[in-house]
Amino acid sequence: MSEVAEPGMEMSRVPAPEWAGEEPLVFELGGDLERGPREVRTGVADRPLAELLPGVALRATPAPIPAVPEPVLARHLGRLARRNHNLHQGIYPLGSCTMKYNPAVDEELARLAGFADIHPYQDAGDVQGALELMWELERLLCEITGMTRISLQPAAGAHGEWTGLRMIQAYHAARGDTQRTRVLIPDSAHGTNPASAALAGLEVVTIRSNPDGTVDVADVARHLDRRAAAIMMTNPNTLGVFEKDILEIAGMAHEAGALLYYDGANLNALVGLARPGDMGFDVVHLNLHKTFSTPHGGGGPGSGPVGVAEALTPFLPTPTVARDGDRFRLDHDHPQSIGKVRSYYGNFGMLVRAYAYIRAYGSSISAVAENAVLNARYLQSRLGGTFPMAVTSDSMHEFVATTKGGRVVGLRALDVAKRLLDYGVYAPTAYFPTTVPEALMFEPTETESKRSLDLLAEVCAAIVAEAERDLDHVRGAPYLTPVSRVDEVEAARRPVLRWRRAE
């Protein structure tokens, strides 16, 4: 018997008012505009500000932000928290996003004063433990990726992509190879790939994919000329399929003088089991907020370290961490560096979490990939009768289903996505990759139990069965979320991007 109840059918189940109603904005909670919380005394002989800041224009009145009393603010945040799906509530099967469970201990560790309360400009002697952690993390990530060195600076995946492409440009420029201004990017690639190329000042050449989702090798060959700076690839690709011709493509690229870039968003399929460095990739970025389980935070902060092969090490962002015997220091001596890509040394708080995560698995880290692929393949097999699959080839840690050509004509990916929310399940990634119509991309990750996967499969089956009976009902979803279907057209047509005091 199915364990899945069918929600949203009877109005008596409409949730309680404070959950269903509108939550006031922080400006509407009645805080004090004139005074902040009780303050400490200056403790020095105060002088008039006009005397201390001669000629400086001061605000006539405080910025109109109310100081909300703590008990009121606490409830506001508590009610808002209830309006969020999250990993402690249910599965988050977002393809390409690797929403795995974030270990509780990692959060505690990152908050240790020895990590959180240190300043980037303290003397090296005062921050040895932090530098050692960064140095060790770089070694671990090099080992896992097969790269020579890794910069921990980039703040997210896209930032790592742009950093990597800047290094590729610097590499070609240093060889006097200045006509290489193009990047080959598969049509199924994530949007950040072409956007990062454009930000770096490179021209994007789109490469076709085969019916099975893999890169068309002949199309790659056609565009590998003297203008090609690099090929950007995701492997397994955004359909979850391993690029089986990767060694051939790497050979072709290098033969033509181009470099091979690895978008590491999908490393969770391979971590510990195969290395981008061994596949011939010259530059690799990782998303620590995916494979290495730093929490996604509602949209960051993440961390996007970027690794390079030997030939590109001179171009790494500055500074790097160096070791002299048992002392660690920041090394600013990189005359060919592309420069600084952000302030200071990286999202250190995320580096602490990722380091802890890797040390917990250590030499058993391949269990992550094995279980991620096992979970995804199992879920896919359970969904086989519910949705058509976008490609027939074997996928790895994620797979793309579609509602197109399925049992219910007119059922859209969006409708399935919204109806899933009623069951306390977050929707898979919808409409990505853009090469697949009505795409639903599932990535369960290794931290879901079989029971959780079974439930998700049953919910999906229930939704399709419901759509067969009553498509309109599915199209009206969601019913049980704190708000019903949100009007995104209105949001875009009349943008209201901030609260304003009534005139």
């Binding site: 605000r59 100081a67 945040l77 950040t192 454009a198 931290t447």
Partner: protein, 444 residues
């Protein structure tokens, strides 16, 4: 195994359902010679051993709280109300994804809308985005916006921009052939061929200049004016929006985010209405649900990489939502008045310390004619690195020696006070420094 819920039985059942004989079979598409590299990785650690190992590393640093610290220079130790940490430690917030499915993400969406609104109030601008990585990349994104808006490729930047910010602007600019010139007088240097003027509030040395003329001069030549502002400064002095700037960027770290060795912090950007559609990153808008209730959603996404690909306004995808939440809670708890009070305390303490130090023989302000907020460049007797080292031996981080940024400032230290610099720590600073006081024979 660490964080894996399925046991051997479940895995066997799952393999059966798939129709595979082994997990290895699931990796058949990976060429044999790539599989199972020999990795040198340490033994797995039990949680308890993991804590021991990380506590060992954390024990090999000296946190600011264990010292009398007068380090600032862009990263500030400000008091963080406990409710800020309590909020960002909630799994409902920290384990959520980017709020693409609006109906199941109203919590995150509303807090971002509140962040955008409060950043606008603080900076005096029309529209703010959901966050960027940090202050330095926010400034670089602002410059890229100006380049796109004006079609020009030269940037005039104040020489007293934070060195990290200037360095990052240069790195972003280089790929796109954008030239960056620095000057002490931006308003007279900006010309008709320039994309933008970039100035800081306050400057790297803590000083405040008259900035309204920069915004006017930029406007007069059709360039964009950008101000990189400290948010706490914006609570005290006339904010960039009131001074006529087109774009305000900055780092929200002082708003409830710990120093964390330089990251993660949170970049913010706020602009005039006319520049809204050129903004990088996410924007949350107010709209309604089917029942007409207020609801929030990501909006104007046609600017972004997932829709526009190589023609997007930026490549940013993941931003710094959780640290923006910390800033949101901080601003809401402190209010505009509370933040202004924090700024005032910092100003009073910095000026008191500066007064007492410059009364010592051999110590004086390096920029005596320029008004400053809570940081000041201090001339010390002899080499500032030596002085800082000697002070450190007494448990005092006396400031940032400036020689590494400017060889002409080798005898200067950038000293910072905040509301966490207690009066007793000021006394200890003066007491320790007085031992270095005496007739100056160093050649200045």
């Amino acid at each position: 195994m660490a964080y894996l819920p399925n046991g051997a039985d479940e895995r066997r059942q799952m393999l059966e359902a798939i129709g595979a004989a082994s997990v290895e079979e699931l990796f058949a598409t990976v060429p044999e010679r790539l599989r199972h590299p020999q990795l040198t990785l340490p033994e797995p650690l039990a949680e308890q051993d993991l804590v021991t190992e990380l506590e060992r590393l954390a024990g090999r640093t000296h946190p600011l709280g264990s010292l009398d610290s007068f380090l600032g220079a862009g990263v500030y130790r400000r008091y963080v109300p406990a409710i800020v940490r309590a909020a960002i430690a909630r799994p409902e917030f920290y384990t959520a994804y980017t709020p693409y499915q609006a109906e199941a993400s109203q919590g995150t969406l509303q807090t971002i809308f509140e962040f955008q609104s409060m950043i606008c109030e603080l900076t005096g601008m029309d529209v703010a985005n959901a966050s960027l990585y940090d202050g330095a990349t926010a400034a670089a994104e602002g410059v890229m916006m100006a380049v796109a808006q004006t079609g020009r490729r030269r940037v005039v930047a104040a020489a007293d921009l934070h060195p990290e910010t200037l360095a990052v602007i240069r790195t972003y600019g280089r790929g796109r052939g954008v030239e960056v010139a620095t000057t002490d007088d931006v308003s007279t240097s900006i010309g008709a061929g320039d994309a933008c003027a970039v100035v800081a509030l306050p400057g790297f040395l803590g000083t405040v200049e008259e900035l309204a003329p920069v915004a006017q001069a930029a406007r007069a030549v059709g360039a964009i004016s950008i101000c990189s502002a400290d948010p706490i400064a914006c609570a005290l002095v006339a904010p960039p929006g009131d001074l006529g700037f087109d774009i305000t960027v900055g780092d929200g770290q002082p708003l409830g985010v710990p120093p964390s060795f330089g990251g993660p912090h949170v970049g913010f950007m706020a602009v005039r209405q006319e520049l809204m559609r050129r903004m990088p990153g996410r924007l949350v808008g107010l709209t309604h649900d089917r029942h007409g209730r207020r609801a929030y959603a990501l909006t104007l996404q046609a600017r972004e990489q997932h829709i526009r690909r190589e023609r997007a306004t930026s490549n940013i995808c993941t931003n710094h939502a959780l640290t923006a939440l910390a800033a949101t809670v901080y601003m809401a708890r402190m209010g505009g008045a509370g933040m202004r009070r924090v700024a005032e305390i910092s100003v009073q303490r910095a000026h008191a310390l500066a007064g007492r130090l410059s009364a010592l023989d051999g110590f004086e302000l390096a920029e005596p004619a320029r008004p400053y907020l809570w940081e000041f460049a201090l001339l010390v007797p002899g080499d500032a690195d030596d002085f800082a080292r000697a002070m450190r031996r007494q448990g005092i981080v006396a400031g940032l020696p400036l020689g590494r940024f400017d060889p002409d400032r080798r005898e200067q230290l950038l000293v910072c006070c905040t509301e966490t610099s207690t009066p007793a720590s000021l006394d200890r600073y003066v007491e320790a420094a007085s031992r270095f006081a005496g007739p100056v024979e160093v050649n200045r």
